[in-house]
Symmetry: C2
Subunit: 255 residues, 2 copies
């Protein structure tokens, strides 16, 4: 199974341009991840601006993902500003050529996102898609070990992780998320500057043994893929007699 | 507050020699961590051997820790094989010059430890000692994010982490444990070979911002300390508006 990311630099407010850019870059694969808020851009100046750039789950981002799926053969995960009733969520969708597979709404909002978005109400979800079990989390969710853990306990073999990272720690921490849960993770970050924020690029795929299989540069478009075997994520063994899940002792863990 | 570790290479079965070695190496400090099973050695050939090298909590390891405390001014955390009734636990004690402060029994046993030890029944505990809140975990507990998380949620500012590491991942992963919880962590590992096992040294102190403040070599005695401010571990903020604990959403986390 070939998985990867489409790292680029969305321009705020230019939905059509951004989606066309992602389409143009997307390589052949079985699963591709695009950045968080990849059509709208990130650093809104007001809730009104965010609302004007939001869309329903079955909107232009889904349409672009279906076109990418048709062109590349891949299931596609992409972040978008989701309009639902009066709320806007920082969401990610998973789609294939046939249509929408599922939507995840970001659980842990970061900084000024709190001014624009409603905290996610979906919880962490896993779908059977493209021959693997795919769990979604978005950007800052990585900081909370419970996010990746919950997806892994629910059977995720691959974490699809659309991001707009500005803090420095995620790329060197995701190997630990992959290692502690024995899952693959595809972090797709954007790069570039937007209204005073700098995004750090370095999209990557990490493996159950903690290795970084491929990493993008910090300041350039980069669409890259790597071959993985998702079945590897079903083996939770450590050394000979230990098991990441079987050895857990939840009665001793604080909530 | 000055904290550190006493990395050395215990010899299996030579309790007095090993404790004297720790005493000889211990530097002045406020808190010192010694390795897991630092008096008995690690790689027992039978349960009978483990039992013969086990001791009550108020035994020779405690006596040595009190001597180290008197000599250096430090509270001391040390791993020992704890005999309690018919059970043996892979335990760590925390002591100062006045005596025993507390005992933690390892929750997640690694590999052949399962043949010798009873899984710990204390859970993750935190004590006020040496001017800070100190939480104990042992070696392989690090692999489970719930261990450090539980200690931090219970108020630990410093994780005292006696270890006998053979797998490669802990030293480069503990920065993530410190970062995600905003705690200091003192991992004291042993080094050397013992009956076919090689221990990887690289004892270290990590900080709430994910930095490694000091790290020992992989194959030598090393007693090192560093100045820290445990109050730093009481600030759980990330960037400006986020908080490692305040932002948690346990209703969405799987147990």
């Amino acid at each position: 199974m070939r998985v990867g990311f489409v790292q680029f630099a969305p321009e705020i407010g230019r939905l059509r341009r951004n989606l066309e850019r992602a389409e143009a870059l997307a390589p052949r694969a079985d699963l591709l991840v695009l950045p968080e808020l990849c059509a709208s851009g990130y650093n809104f100046s007001s809730r009104a601006e965010a609302e004007g750039l939001s869309e329903p789950a079955e909107g232009p981002t889904l349409a672009a993902c279906r076109r990418i799926a048709s062109k590349t053969g891949a299931a596609v995960c992409a972040g978008f500003a989701e309009k639902s009733g009066n709320a806007i969520y920082n969401s990610a969708l998973l789609a294939d050529a046939k249509g929408l597979v599922g939507v995840y709404r970001k659980t842990h909002l970061f900084e000024n996102e709190m001014d624009f978005f409603t905290p996610g109400d979906t919880g962490f979800r896993v779908w059977d898609c493209a021959g693997a079990k795919i769990g979604l989390m978005i950007c800052f969710d990585w900081f909370f070990p419970e996010a990746a853990r919950t997806l892994a306990l629910r059977g995720a073999e691959i974490l699809a992780h659309p991001s707009n990272l500005v803090l420095p720690w995620c790329p060197d921490s995701m190997p630990v998320r992959s290692l502690e849960n024995a899952v693959f993770a595809i972090t797709c970050n954007r790069w570039g500057d937007e209204r005073g924020l700098n995004f750090i690029g370095r999209s990557q795929v990490t493996a159950p043994d903690g290795r970084i299989l491929v990493r993008a540069p910090e300041d350039a478009d980069a669409a890259d893929t790597v071959e993985i075997d998702p079945a590897r994520a079903r083996r939770k063994t450590i050394a000979t007699r230990n098991d990441r899940f079987g050895d857990r002792r939840p009665d001793f863990y604080a909530r």
